[in-house]
């Protein structure tokens, strides 16, 4: 990744809006700095209202940053109007032109560039084929299904061969099944065409499935940037751990530093040495994070014994809730065919995968 060229650079970018009542300000984007590499698929992920859309619109040029600069291939484009930026935005509601056919929707941008007619026709045909819309070019948007409309929106942007493709929650209007299908379609196309893409979503599964890197945002600021695996396995904050997937937090875990980047902790009745990924000060407690699938229930008298409060059979997995040391823990047992399914009220042993333990700064002490 690092050796690739930086395509887009955000330098200390913020955006504040006036309140609806015109009094105060809303800091929608709070001093963000970020490099996006050529050919990369980057996702902005975060809860509603965290500033994802605003960031995307700043990049597209529909909003003007309050502070900071935006550079495209090294050129400062902060003041450039959106139609001059070589980017194409795919909208959440598709924003197809309702009075134009599929063909004219897709050709619109090329016509704007005053490309010769035959060339436009060839390019439109090519992209419609690529995206599986052959034969629909004479239809109007309201004669298409939601999934097809989404494809047209995508085709309309792809045909421009922009330097950056921008997506704002493009799949959120589709039903669950179609969403998964379009997700892999976008994945396939992006990998094949290698277009630098910035994708906004609040769906963490979508982000994980598509992205080279994920930017987790919270209240206008970046919480963490990393590959899906890094974000999932080594979240740097409780917010990220909680937002991406599900997590059990065991607070106030005592520790002892073994060396600079390892510590010995005692967790759920076991003593173990785990890596430390943030600077620790002596005398503190830490919080240990365990994903539900890292916890294991086994009938083993040598282990800590817990009672099962809830058991939910979900087909591909079983989900248990147990209470340990006044703490609710969620445990997911994959592949219930092999392991035994326990019943509510049953008492079993609780174990965990040591290599899955991840330490976070203890946020319970002030």
């Amino acid at each position: 990744m690092q050796q690739r060229a930086v395509r887009l650079k955000l330098e200390n970018v913020s955006k504040s809006f006036l309140d609806r009542d015109g009094k105060g300000h809303v800091q929608a984007v709070d001093h963000i700095s970020l490099d996006i590499y050529s050919g990369e698929f980057l996702t902005l992920l975060g809860p509603s209202g965290c500033g994802k859309t605003t960031t995307l619109r700043l990049i597209a040029g529909f909003e003007h940053p309050t502070t900071g600069r935006i550079l495209l291939d090294g050129e400062d484009i902060t003041g450039q109007p959106p139609n001059k930026r070589d980017m194409a935005l795919v909208f959440q509601n598709y924003a197809l032109f309702p009075h134009m056919t599929v063909y004219h929707n897709v050709a619109y941008g090329l016509e704007t560039r005053q490309m010769p007619r035959p060339q436009i026709q060839a390019k439109v045909a090519e992209v419609l084929k690529l995206i599986g819309l052959e034969g629909l070019d004479k239809r109007r948007p309201n004669q298409l299904s939601g999934g097809q409309q989404q494809r047209v929106a995508l085709a309309r942007s792809l045909v421009m061969e922009p330097r950056i493709l921008l997506f704002d929650e493009p799949l959120s209007n589709l039903d669950a099944k179609l969403r998964v299908q379009m997700r892999s379609e976008i994945h396939r196309l992006q990998r094949r065409l290698g277009i630098t893409s910035i994708y906004v979503t609040h769906d963490q599964l979508e982000a994980m499935a598509l992205s080279d890197r994920i930017v987790v945002m919270n209240q206008g600021a970046i919480e963490q940037v990393g590959t899906p695996e890094e974000i999932y396995r080594f979240p740097t904050s409780r917010f990220v751990a909680d937002f991406i997937g599900r997590a059990n937090f065991i607070d106030r875990v005592p520790y002892q530093l073994v060396d600079d980047d390892r510590a010995e902790i005692s967790l759920l009745g076991r003593k173990l040495v785990v890596p430390v990924r943030f600077p620790l000060r002596a005398g503190q407690h830490v919080t240990a994070m365990l994903r539900p699938e890292a916890l294991v229930l086994r009938e083993d008298a040598s282990l800590m014994q817990v009672t099962i409060d809830e058991a939910m059979y979900l087909g591909s997995e079983v989900e248990y809730v147990v209470t340990f040391d006044q703490q609710r823990l969620v445990i997911v047992q994959q592949d219930p065919r092999i392991s035994r399914i326990f019943k509510e009220g049953q008492t079993v042993g609780l174990d965990f995968l040591a290599e899955a333990v991840h330490l976070l700064p203890d946020q319970t002490v002030v």
Binding site: F62, P81, Q92, A95, P98, Y108, R156, M160
Partner: protein, 576 residues
């Protein structure tokens, strides 16, 4: 109106920056603002200035303390209130029948209700005189009574019939937007229909009723044509202003009276703008769910229906009289069939007026329509300093009574405006004005029509997701191309409505241009007024018929040219 914000300067710099980056957008804004300033604000300011000049100020004192003028002012307000109330009731009746009753001929009733919109101002009044006047065909001929229609009763009758359509369309839109689920919810809670009407429907419609009343009130106090023909001894401000200028050549006196008339007009405009809109609970944009329940109670149903049919009958009778009267020698007196009226109008005095009026209206129509859409686009979609002020200033074009606009034009544009030797705006009004005063007339046509186009345009725009336009920009199109290729086609129905309104309004307007016609530029409505005042009703009716025919033909042409090309409106539905 300009909202100055906390960090005003920084924003100002930023906006300025953004405007400079898009020169076409800046030009559109500057042109719109300049246009509104010069053609609407400047005449108003001049008129107010004249009224508070050395010679004007004493007149205020004099008029306001004179019993004659006090009566005139009171007359004006009483007329406004009565027309407002009766017109709103009739409009409501028509809307109710359309939305809530399951009865035959609804389509025909709708069309009959629309007819008054395209008729010239004196048509209804003159026909009413022929039918119900001292020698009225019905009052004298059939009933054998000697009824004096001139005065308040006649004015309320003809004005109500002329203006109730506004209330009808306003209320109908609102009633259709009422969510039937509310009715159903109330029914579920055990309320009967009358109770639902009282406790749910009526309160929801209250802003609509209030706004209809106010619209009619303003129309009534601003109207000049009907009081001139029908007023008799019942004098109102608009007519007095007319007499003060035409008869007494007292421009300053007219300006003072205009300011007095302006007070209730502007008050209502401000109430509309800042209060009614705020208390409106019905969102006309919302898609209602379910079907409205119809009222089945036979007594209620047939009483209301009967009343509406009666009014329809009256309208048909009046327009029948107009058409019939155009083909007889002396309507109401000698009913011999003749083409002399048409001959007199078409080949005589009217030939130039028909050509002039139609040409000038046809010139004003596209300007008004396009300007309305552009201002709507700027106001709804763009952020710039003075955005609200632009909207406000444009709306003044119709909020202000036409007579006042006319006087303002005489005051401002009767002499060239310039700095030193440099003429910025040449003399526009009067026979020596450029194009024989025609430019001033076109400008008045435009400013009287732009507000309606602006309203329909901004209503249509706010229904279109801005991301559709952003998509166009994101694909490399600039603002101008986006407006031309995306926005305008999508608001085509509003554009068409704006054009039709502009043409019909221009062809039928009298109050604003009555002071601006010149020997070189003849206007049909002014000539109709002349024929009516001289008792030549046959000619007047022939004129009205021709005028209505021209308007209808133009509507047909507009539908053909603007409506038929892509019919984007029909495809809006699924495209979102």
């Amino acid at each position: 109106m300009i909202t100055v914000r906390n960090s005003g300067q920084r924003y100002a710099a930023k906006y300025l920056n953004a405007l400079l980056k898009d020169p076409l957008l800046s030009i559109a804004i500057i042109v719109s603002v300049m246009f509104v300033l010069i053609t609407i604000v400047l005449p108003l300011v001049a008129m107010v200035g004249e009224s508070v000049s050395e010679s004007g100020r004493p007149l205020f004192q004099q008029y306001l303390s004179s019993p004659v003028y006090q009566t005139i002012i009171a007359n004006t307000l009483v007329l406004g209130v009565l027309v407002g109330m009766v017109g709103t009731v009739i409009g409501f009746l028509f809307a109710f029948v359309q939305v809530k009753l399951n009865v035959p001929f609804k389509r025909a009733i709708h069309i009959i209700a629309l007819v008054p919109v395209i008729s010239p101002p004196f048509a209804v009044a003159t026909a009413a005189i022929v039918l119900f006047g001292r020698n009225g065909t019905i009052t004298r001929g059939i009933l054998g009574v000697r009824y004096d229609i001139y005065g308040l009763d006649g004015l309320v009758l003809v004005m109500t019939l002329s203006f109730f359509t506004i209330a009808y369309l306003n209320l109908r839109g609102m009633m259709e937007a009422l969510d039937p689920a509310l009715d159903e919810a109330a029914t579920n809670l055990g309320a009967n229909k009358w109770r639902i009407f009282r406790t749910v429907t009526l309160p929801m419609l209250l802003p609509g009723l209030a706004s209809s009343f106010l619209l009619l009130f303003v129309e009534a106090i601003a109207d000049l044509g009907n009081p001139l023909v029908m007023g008799g001894n019942y004098e109102v401000l608009a007519a007095r202003i007319y007499v003060t200028i035409i008869g007494l050549y007292e421009t300053t006196g007219a300006a003072v009276l205009s300011v007095i008339l302006l007070v209730p007009s502007l008050t209502v405009f401000l109430i509309q703008r800042y209060w009614i809109n705020r208390i409106s609970v019905v969102s006309v944009t919302g898609k209602p769910s379910g079907t409205p329940q119809s009222i089945d109670h036979p007594l209620v149903k047939w009483t209301l229906y009967g009343a509406v049919l009666l009014i329809c009958g009256l309208i048909v009778l009046i327009y029948g009289t107009i058409i019939h009267g155009a083909f007889v020698q002396v309507p109401g007196v000698r009913w011999d069939w003749t083409f002399a009226n048409f001959d007199f109008v078409i080949n005589g005095i009217g030939s130039q007026a028909m050509r002039d009026t139609t040409t000038l209206s046809a010139l004003a129509t596209p300007i008004a329509g396009l300007l309305g859409m552009i201002i709507a686009y700027l106001v709804v979609r763009k952020e710039f300093w003075g955005r609200n002020a632009l909207d406000f200033g444009t709306m003044l074009g119709i909020a202000v009574p036409g007579t006042i606009i006319g006087i303002g034009y005489i005051l401002v544009f009767n002499t060239p405006i310039g700095i030193g030797d440099l003429t910025l705006i040449p003399k526009l009004t009067g026979g020596q004005g450029i194009f024989g005063g025609a430019l001033a007339i076109v400008l008045v046509f435009v400013i009287r029509s732009v507000p309606a186009a602006l309203r329909t345009g901004s209503a249509a725009l706010s229904q279109i997701d801005p991301s559709i336009e952003e998509a166009s920009i994101s694909l490399g199109a600039d603002n101008a191309r986006t407006f031309r290729r995306i926005t305008l086609p999508l608001i085509r129905p509003a554009f068409l409505a704006g054009l039709i309104y502009a043409f019909a309004r221009s062809m039928t307007t009298i109050s604003a241009i009555v002071f601006l016609t010149t020997p070189q530029t003849k206007i049909m409505t002014a000539q109709i007024l002349n024929e009516v005042e001289n008792g030549r009703y046959g000619n007047a009716f022939a004129y009205c018929v021709i005028l209505i025919a021209i308007v209808m033909a133009a509507i047909g042409v507009l539908y053909f040219v603007v409506g038929a090309q892509t019919g984007a409106e029909r495809r809006l539905e699924g495209g979102r």
